[in-house]
């Protein structure tokens, strides 16, 4: 792993120290876990939206009426 450092003198690349590599890998793992959680939340939200829409249709509303109250 390396960092790109831009200063007044231009861009230079500096390799991560072992400590920085460890910290970076831990942060990526955390981010991946957060992304998995967020993806699940978004997927559940989409499922809820679909199910809710269907339940409203089952109650006799037209799709236009559903859209009018949900969007």
């Amino acid at each position: 792993m390396r960092k790109a450092l831009m200063t007044q003198n231009g861009v230079e690349y500096v390799d991560f120290t072992p400590e920085e590599v460890t910290a970076r890998e831990a942060e990526e793992a955390t981010a991946e876990a957060e992304k998995t959680t967020e993806d699940a939340r978004v997927a559940q939200e989409a499922t809820d939206k679909t199910n809710g829409n269907q339940k409203l249709l089952d109650l006799g509303l037209s799709q236009a009426e559903v859209d009018a109250i949900t969007k």
């Binding site: 390396r2 790109a4 450092l5 831009m6 200063t7 007044q8 231009g10 992304k35």
Partner: protein
């Protein structure tokens, strides 16, 4: 055969006037950068050209000119006039522009702007991209343009931190921010997003695409990063397109600790980032 004396039928140029020469009518002389014609003969040394009964001026001289060649002497010299006369402004030691004051005093000056580009560059295949050493006491407000940023893998969050020293991002849990965004996709479907950070160790505001031709651009305004007595705050607009959708993000962030920051570090939540162009400008303090 009888001889008929017609007298002079044309003037005779006699050269420079001499007080030791006798002149006759129609002799022409020069004197004091003027020319005169004799209208009455006279002996040597008796009548100067200023005596109108003997001489008539043929050609008067004009006003004396100035030999500017004695004032400007070197390639690049500029001639100007001050309160007393012509003056020389020598060429500058480096490329500069001519400046003049309302009082009429010219001088060489560097081109000045309230917007100053402090740095620019590109980066590729880096776990983090950091700008540093560009924040100084000369500026309170900075504009940063990151053009076409993308990552080694798509769908990752794009984040940034402030640097507490050269290239070292500050990871204290002091980042407070809020962002909103919207998306429009190829099916003409949209979605909106609202998120934020409260005492996190980074700011998040956008995503990165995995390909260079799916642009992801960011315009940042950073306030007081170098101040040790004010919070560093930011207004960020970003967005791009990825796969089947285009998106936009707006973020407002504040780092709620009064400490000086020397730069900013961007990174993706996972993988490397690529920065085809980054430009940093400072807006001069008043």
């Amino acid at each position: 055969m009888a001889t008929l004396n017609l007298g002079r039928i044309k003037p005779v140029f006699k050269g420079a006037y001499s007080g030791s020469t006798a002149y006759v009518i129609d002799d022409i002389v020069t004197h004091g950068n003027e020319s005169f014609i004799c209208i009455q003969a006279h002996g040597a040394g008796t009548q100067a050209t200023s005596v109108a009964a003997y001489w008539t001026k043929l050609a008067a001289k004009g006003t004396d000119g100035t030999d500017v060649g004695t004032t400007i002497t070197t390639q690049g010299d500029v001639l100007y006039r001050d309160g007393s006369g012509l003056q020389r402004l020598a060429k500058p030691a480096s490329d500069m522009y001519l400046k003049n004051t309302s009082a009429g005093t010219p001088s060489w000056s560097a081109l000045s702007s309230d917007w100053v580009r402090l740095g620019s560059g590109t980066a590729s295949a880096a776990a983090i991209f950091s700008i540093d050493g560009l924040f100084t006491a000369d500026y309170d407000i900075y504009k940063i343009f990151v053009n076409g940023i993308y990552g080694s893998s798509g769908g990752q969050a794009l984040r940034y931190r402030y640097n507490s020293s050269a290239g070292t991002p500050q990871t204290g849990s002091n980042y407070k921010g809020v962002f909103d965004g919207s998306m429009w996709n190829s099916s003409s479907a949209s979605s909106q997003q609202l998120g934020g950070d409260w005492n996190r160790d980074y700011f998040g505001y956008s995503n990165v695409s995995a390909t260079a031709d799916e642009f992801g651009d960011t315009e940042m305004t950073i306030f007081n990063p170098f101040s040790a007595s004010k919070y560093t705050s930011s207004i960020v607009t970003g967005g791009g397109w990825e796969g089947n959708h285009i998106y936009t993000r707006h973020q407002r962030g504040s780092y709620n600790v009064t400490e000086a920051h020397t730069g900013i570090t961007w990174y993706a939540s996972s993988g490397n980032i690529y920065v085809p162009s980054c430009q940093v400008f400072g807006i001069k303090n008043s």
